[in-house]
Symmetry: C2
Subunit: 500 residues, 2 copies
């Protein structure tokens, strides 16, 4: 697969592959890696790496295939999870367990990012467990990442239904080994991980009492996809920040095309945008810019508002050189990426575990029809084309995408109708500035399946760690979430008393 | 597998393999098989056999493995379903769909048995669909039943999670092809099929609005198994019918052993019980009698009360020959089985699809720890032994049973606590005379997850067809169920109006 991964085809398939809670270029690096040892429950093996002082690392012997009884289904792999028991009130008091459900990245990269759990654990006397998603980080079947991704047979177990079954097994194992049968479990996740959290509560209500699903675009699937989608919101975010900036970007695409057509046009563009390697096609530059605007919108964090910074640079440059659109755009790039000696056009397409893994996931089951629709006026129209997508995925991975499976298994189009009298204890939180909120649940379904949206919020903002610079609306959003979760736990404890 | 199927080992593994809604020896044969033709939706192929006048047969091209993306997961098979649209009010009026979820038998054998659907369809203007369970009847992967059951690799896809995913796919396909998006679906099932119906509502609430789960022993799994189990209730049923009959049966086992030890003892027993073939071991006779008592209790239908008939014969014989215990027992056999020229001790262990299929299912995931506990005083104690069970299954099928998977995937021990504020629209109906009611949900969980039990009811009684001889309590039970289901549909229609 290695060659394919680097191929142009892989790039072109996906406008957008970052659906993590943090942008690909500012994932905070983790602190001191610490070696830990301790007594391990029967089905876990100890490990030697663990980020952070209060964390212990475990490996659970996980079943490769939960849903069949083939001889190969019984194969196992080591699934990594981290436990922070510093704040835990203990099994006897029925103190809760916060479980972070890993997404499409090594879970250790998320631990310091999703500060919501650690920020609130003391208040809840909660144990925290961070569980890694299969096929990411160190939770890799078949011995190595290379082997696991080698062909259709080894990749085939890499999907969401298996992943949430893994989480159920790990959590039940953890509760048994801690004798914590009466400790309610709240699951947390963001973006794809947020989808997993909400689906987990729906499919395993006996394992998790409730779920906080942050920025989970669960309505962004075939048959349920929104009319005004991802790039519509990117456009809106830019329009709301600066109409002139939006206009400059809107006009820049044809300007790139015009220059590219010149003799030596790609050299001119390479120089203008200070690319690390000479452009081989203008689409490289356009995809790069596309990713910057999308990132700026998705991660438009109030602590630094990247759209504002980008647009200010573009607008400022316009004052100086009103006719040099590409020069203005380049100033936006510098503002967003930082002043660098050169700019790597493949920055967003590097063959990381996340990019390769998520590419497979979107090509098999997580088929989100994200494209540039006509109404997304900041970009040249290029609507999502399911036929081409299916064909490309088939030729890339050898198996057909199953675009209807997510809505068959988890529900979709009539989500609101179908769940208003079913399910409970789910928070769908969204920031309306987040392009993924276009596929989010923005209206409460019932008294306990709740939508909590903030007008200015960005992707996963609520489950990130609190910061002194947090605006009041963000503080309030988190307080509301805490209050709701407290209510779930209080109800559970009352139920427990009334039954036993 | 053929040789294994006939082996002693296969018999000895399972005290009890009938968990169907009808006893193995009185399944009503179906009427005229009728050839039908009609326009078929895209993914179905037409068929040439169909039981009953109002039924049409369809085959859906079903995916072999819903939960993986391996090349072999994409294999398909033809899944059979029958549609009766005689009473349907049509898609425009949003008239409901009754879906019967097949269990461990060819579904055509059930259609005339589960009369509840047809009896009530006119009242609801409902479409009826009967869907066959994979690996039964004509819904067989790998081309033939022999191939499908040949080895661990072909059998491995034969399980409940795949089966309910099949049902979701068929129902969604049917709704699409009928343009019946607003027709609410109610699923029905009995015994194992009842478990599937309740699990289906839990896992696919967006596909089924509600479920009637008749005689579904969903709490009879590892970690949740009842203390007073299946044979405890068999014993109680006999005690309540006739204490003297119960005492005779209780004493008969040691009498069988005593005679068996005599020189030519097996010949004496064979003659006494008029066996078709000479007994090769006294356990053959004991297992046969065990099955008769269990059947009599499980299918103790009020139209003929087999326990009463059996016990009357035993007690009557006792009046004539008080010292001839085995003669008395034999009279019970004659009363229950009918007067035959000889009695086939393998009657309950014939290599039918149901016996072979259910044997696999209990040996892989449906591990119900049913044994003769000490408190089941009518039988010699022989408690369920998980260790031996696992060992025997492993040697029989080559793969290890997964006794914890059912409770991991579907929930179990704390069912009441976990679902009281989750889920809705499930009726768990049980007859307390049914030995399987020991694993049933006998207390309502919430306002809409309801337990409806009748003191004298037997296995699946409520979903069988109405009969003029039905006692008042059975008529009332069915009326209550109809009223509840009407309430679900009315609520759904109100919700639909309020949303659209």
């Amino acid at each position: 697969m290695r060659t394919l991964v680097y191929s142009y085809q892989w790039f072109s398939l996906f406008f957008l592959i970052f659906s993590l809670c943090v942008s690909a270029f500012n994932i905070p690096r983790l602190g001191i890696m610490q070696r830990t040892h301790q007594h391990e429950p029967a089905r876990t093996v100890s490990s030697s790496d663990s980020p952070g002082d209060d964390l212990k690392t475990y490996y659970y012997t996980q079943r490769l295939d939960h849903f069949n009884y083939l001889p190969e289904s019984y194969a196992t792999f080591h699934q990594r999870y981290f436990v922070n028991s510093k704040y835990w009130g203990g099994a006897k008091s029925g103190a809760p367990i916060f479980a972070y459900l890993g997404a499409e990245a090594p879970v250790d990269e998320d631990i310091d990012v999703v500060g919501f759990l650690k920020d609130n654990a003391p208040n809840f006397n909660a144990l925290i467990v961070y569980i890694e998603h299969r096929y990411y980080g160190k939770s890799i079947p078949f011995g190595s990442w290379k082997e696991a991704m080698r062909n259709a047979t080894t990749r085939g177990y890499f999907n969401s239904a298996q992943a949430i079954a893994d989480y159920a097994a790990v959590i039940l194992h953890l509760k048994t080994s801690l004798s914590a049968q009466n400790s309610p479990v709240i699951v947390f996740g963001g973006s794809y991980g947020g989808m997993l959290a909400s689906w987990f509560r729906l499919k395993y209500p006996h394992v998790a009492l409730g779920a906080l699903a942050s920025s989970a675009p669960i309505l962004y699937f075939s048959g349920a996809a929104p009319r005004a989608g991802y790039y519509y919101i990117v456009t809106k975010d830019f329009q709301e920040t600066s109409m002139s900036c939006y206009q400059t970007i809107r006009r820049s695409w044809s300007e790139i095309d015009r220059v590219a057509k010149k003799p030596d046009g790609l050299s001119i563009l390479s120089t203008t945008f200070r690319t690390c390697k000479k452009l081989s096609h203008s689409s490289e530059l356009k995809d790069y810019l596309d990713s910057i605007y999308a990132s700026a919108a998705q991660y438009n964090n109030p602590s630094y508002y990247p759209i504002k910074a980008t647009c200010e640079a573009i607008d400022e440059a316009a004052k100086k050189t009103s006719n040099n659109i590409l020069g203005q755009i380049f100033e936006g790039v510098v503002a967003f990426m930082g002043n660098k000696s050169c700019y790597d056009m493949n920055k967003f397409n590097n063959p990381s575990q996340t990019n390769i893994g998520w590419s497979w996931q979107t090509c098999s089951e997580m088929v989100m029809p994200i494209g540039h629709d006509k109404s997304d006026s900041m970009f040249p129209p290029e609507p999502f084309n399911m036929k081409n997508f299916v064909k490309d995925c088939k030729s890339l991975y050898g198996v057909l995408p199953q675009p209807h499976w997510v809505t068959t298994y988890y529900g979709g189009p009539d989500f609101k109708l179908n769940l208003r009298r079913f399910a409970s204890n789910i928070i769908f939180s969204n920031g309306l500035g987040d392009p993924y909120s276009s596929g989010g649940v923005l209206e409460s379904i019932s008294d306990s399946v709740l939508a909590i949206s903030t007008v200015n919020g960005s992707h996963c903002l609520d489950i990130l760690g609190a910061s002194p610079s947090d605006p009041q609306w963000l503080i309030m959003q988190r307080e509301t979430e805490v209050k709701i979760i407290k209510g779930w736990i209080a109800m559970y404890q009352a139920d427990l008393l009334s039954i036993k």
